[in-house]
Subunit: 602 residues, 2 copies
């Protein structure tokens, strides 16, 4: 059987920066060639970054991508890389594609096969996802052609991301074309435990295609999405041949032995999803590589449940800061667990020198709050200042007669204003420290603790916040380092400290219960009755559902933060603000009250 | 030719409030029957409100809608309305529809034909829009059946909204089935001058269908969308028979003479859009109505360009406040034109008694600012208070050493915090007063002047703000009333008044130029070169494009407000925050600097 050395470039492109991304392709291709690779594959939309959202609708952007792709193919040859086959994701013109409402043809989410200075084959993604965080029917025309490239004695087919996740289509076409190798390029966002699903899926598809399947995914953060890499190759029997570490940029190399190309079937085939695809053949007239001894390849171990989430938060935070050209961040330290975890993530992402923390004590802050905040900053060696807010709050209260929630929220907004002033004065990005349980229930103050540019733990439920903090401390201890988070911040009962003796548990169920109900209601769309059947107290479930339903307006103005769950508050879950549907009971049966009324901790 | 009296119910359903919406159908059906109507049609998604967004993915919601529709058909009969044919939009189960990623079948955006207590026919929308503000491929399974109901001697077909906007499909099927009447039910959002496009389109489709076409649309506001009604009937020659006033709830009545039903074609037909549809027949066995004298019907005049935008703002503001169960609003009055217009819209929407205004003078506010604000409040009879901010700003500055933009933004955030405190204390909704030109260029302070729950003029460019204010004053003068807006607020040069002598023109091009460039770049996706070719100064265009590209992070946290343009900042335009694409020049050529860096008036 012919052999070849395959490289998968698990790299981190930047949305919109086509020139830098093209440079990245050249750099990593050179490295792949130095390692003796015959074929190197880059992720989906490598040249443009992913997802590009409405940039896909801008004709000048599509032209820039398509033109840059042709230039890149020529440049690879000019730089002595013409004999390396380079597969690159990009946005391609689709002159006969589906017209947009303005009458333009929507482009293709495409893969280019570059060899000896030209694009010898172009594949356009067939299955366009339009669910969850994906809106690809808005942006792209679907492809219906499968070019099969004969190279080094092997027939190679290209597919893009979702082509793997749906039945029929190009995988079926690849089997009909008797491809030896299917390269699947991806921009597949991280979710908890997704790596297991991916591998199992790829194993199934490799068997369906009757081919070795190479899966390459990007790493890095892009607004609310974070990509975990997890690139791998499985053979036609589903056996993993190589697998990359998660969240790390790098080149995966593997020697594969593949069936010799022998089939010449072309033309239209029924691919089992209600459509026809056309098989095309491109023969590069390259002889098989003489037999050689395969180098050993390894399967990197998977991260633990906590480690992979933590890595996602660090990666997302690092990339949001760097790609938006900030050099430093600032956040408020309350002494509590949420801000402690965010500070630790920031230090792991950016280094201690780039992280600034501020304690903002009010008249209701406990002594332990200031002490725990200072202790955290001390342990991590980060800048820490104290700005008391009592005099400022007094100045407001001289002008306004405020009570109850209005007075509580005022304190949170004074803190938000101070952090934003420090951002404006010093150029720091403000990190928001709210967690998913707060965001779900609206237990936060708009423009107060919700102010900021990036919210690293907005998709992390409170119970997972504790687990991550405990895990991170244990990691440090295992390495003989001081645990970064003071144990007192982990152990003490959570409080917003906006009135004397306040505890979260005054307003919310215990977090373990709350998070379980939220998981059922938000992520699994369970009804009230289903949650009660699952064993939760009916009154508690009703209360939680009402809080979630009533807090949509707050979530809409929240900063972005990394998705780690199967349904984040963002593109994954899109609900009207004006919405009288109450899953906790009919609108008539529910108590009167604004569905999006108060700007208040509720 | 058989005659019948057709009623179109141009009404305002509430998203998620199925019980109230069902009551509304009964009430308006009774009124239609009293007026002698034989058929009454309600808008798309009448029973659920529109758009319902991810509620469509919640099985309990789809079940509630489908069950309520069956109940409603029975109830109409119980209430003595069984002989009236009632066409109602709702969300229907689609047991064989396209599966969602979770394996559920996506529902139908459907129309029910109710008669004598049952749903005698169900039609499912065939063309699902997935562009602009629409994401219907995310939510619905497309229909492929056209039931034709024979009633009173006439063959009646139903279609839904987008079915009219795309070629082929059910309009073609309706012609093949020789329908006499096509009822098209709509949730079609307002855009400037859209009414003209709609009528021309309907005239073309009526000719294609060879049928009289009845178009019924909802009125009212739903988050960022506002529906203008504009219901009408055109005959097969394209002649308008009746047309409703824009933005007004009401029943449109018209007597139509239609070709006698004679065709019996059923089965699968090629409808010219690459799909097959199935024509089905339902014969209600009702004899034609004996000939009668048709009542006269009128075509309401269209509103002027300014009047229709103004009506959209008033309608959207009224519905957002009412549907979210607020009873009052509060806004800051600067003495400038933006807040003056928003206050006037609020008074026209809610009445003077529900509107509260606050002047928030700083050390840099001119005397005219306080005087103009007070004068506006006086003219409109609205509550007005003055809360000076200088002492509060001083309290912050005692703790923080702020300069330049940081000090300017602080003042705006103190104002935002005061308005939010008043909201919390008194339950007012905060209205945000920013216009589209500011939002486009990022000329606003996050959590400062951008704070609030609803932003009535966020899609109104500054030059249109002036036109609307002038128009509204002229309207008042023409009626012998005091113009609501002080002329000085219209005439004076715009200023943020955050430093001595500051003018908007220090930072931005003149608004007439700015708005023209924004229109080309934002709404028409024109490139830098295209704008220069259109006659604008290259440096100015580059500057404007950079401001727009760099302000995405601010727009993402802005409150909702009504869409009046063909592309609003919201669902219509979705760009990454992290985005190095610069339409004003390549990333390499553009000056270094954060694409989303400062939280500052830039």
């Amino acid at each position: 059987m012919p052999q070849l050395r395959l490289a998968l470039a698990q790299v981190d492109p930047v949305v919109g920066d086509i020139a830098t991304n093209a440079d990245m392709v050249v750099t990593w291709s050179r490295y792949a060639a130095q390692q003796g690779a015959h074929v190197v594959a880059f992720p989906e939309m490598m040249l443009t970054g992913y997802p590009i959202e409405d940039l896909a609708l801008r004709p000048s952007f599509v032209d820039a991508s398509a033109d840059a792709m042709a230039d890149l193919a020529a440049r690879l040859n000019d730089e002595g890389l013409g004999e390396l086959a380079v597969i690159v994701g990009f946005v391609d013109r689709a002159p006969t594609g589906r017209p947009s409402p303005e009458g333009r043809h929507l482009p293709h989410d495409a893969a280019a096969f570059c060899f000896r200075g030209t694009i010898v084959a172009r594949y356009a993604k067939h299955h366009l996802p339009n669910y969850g965080v994906f809106d690809e029917h808005r942006y792209f025309s679907a492809g219906a052609r499968l070019p099969v490239v004969r190279h080094l004695g092997v027939d190679i087919a290209m597919t893009v991301c979702e082509d793997l996740w749906q039945d029929g289509g190009p995988i079926t076409a690849a089997r009909m074309a008797t491809s030896g190798l299917v390269v699947n390029i991806n921009g597949s966002p991280y979710e908890q435990a997704k790596a297991d699903k991916r591998l199992a899926l790829a194993q199934r598809r490799a068997a369906e295609a009757g081919a070795t399947l190479a899966y390459v995914n990007m790493v890095g953060g892009q607004d609310e999405l974070v990509f975990d890499g997890d690139s791998f190759v499985v053979n036609a029997h589903g056996q993993p041949l190589v697998r990359a570490p998660q969240f790390e940029q790098g080149l995966v190399l593997v020697d594969v032995a593949l069936p010799a190309a022998s089939d010449d079937r072309v033309g239209s085939v029924d691919v089992g999803d209600g459509t026809l695809m056309t098989i095309e053949r491109i023969d590069l007239q390259t002889p098989p590589v003489p037999a050689y001894d395969a180098a050993p390849a390894g399967v990197a171990p998977r991260l633990s449940a906590e480690a992979e989430v933590y890595a996602a938060l660090v990666t997302a935070t690092r990339d949001y800061v760097a790609k938006n050209k900030f050099r430093s961040v600032v956040l408020g330290l309350s002494g509590g667990i949420d801000s402690a975890l965010v500070a630790t993530v920031a230090v792991d992402a950016l280094g201690a020198g780039a992280v600034n923390t501020v304690a903002l004590p009010s008249r209701w802050s406990g002594d332990h709050s200031l002490a725990d905040a200072a202790e955290l900053a001390h342990r991590q060696g980060i800048a820490h200042t104290v700005v008391p807010i009592a005099d400022i709050v007094d100045a407001f209260e001289k002008q306004l007669d405020l009570h109850g929630l209005a007075a509580e929220n005022l304190q949170a907004r004074v803190r938000g204003t101070i952090l934003m002033a420090l951002s404006n004065e010093y150029g720091h990005l403000v990190l928001t420290t709210g967690n998913k349980s707060e965001l779900a229930t609206g237990y936060s103050t708009l423009y107060g603790d919700s102010a900021g540019g990036f919210a690293p733990i907005k998709d992390v439920p409170k119970s997972l916040v504790w687990r991550l903090a405990t895990w991170r401390n244990a990691q440090a201890a295992a390495r003989g380092q001081t645990p970064p988070i003071p144990q007192n911040s982990i152990d003490k009962p959570p409080s917003a400290e906006l009135r004397p003796g306040q505890l979260d548990s005054d307003s919310l169920p215990e977090y373990e219960v709350l998070d379980a109900i939220l998981d059922g209601y938000v992520e699994d769309d369970l009804s009230l009755d289903a949650l009660v059947r699952a064993g939760y107290d009916r009154d508690t479930v009703e209360r939680v559902i009402r809080l979630v339903d009533g807090a949509e307006y707050k979530r809409r103005q929240y900063p972005p933060g990394p998705k780690i769950s199967s349904r984040n508050f963002g593109r994954d879950r899109r609900l009207p603000i004006t919405n009288r549907w109450r899953a906790a009971g009919s609108a008539a049966a529910a108590p009167a009250g604004p569905p999006s009324g108060e700007y208040a901790r509720s």
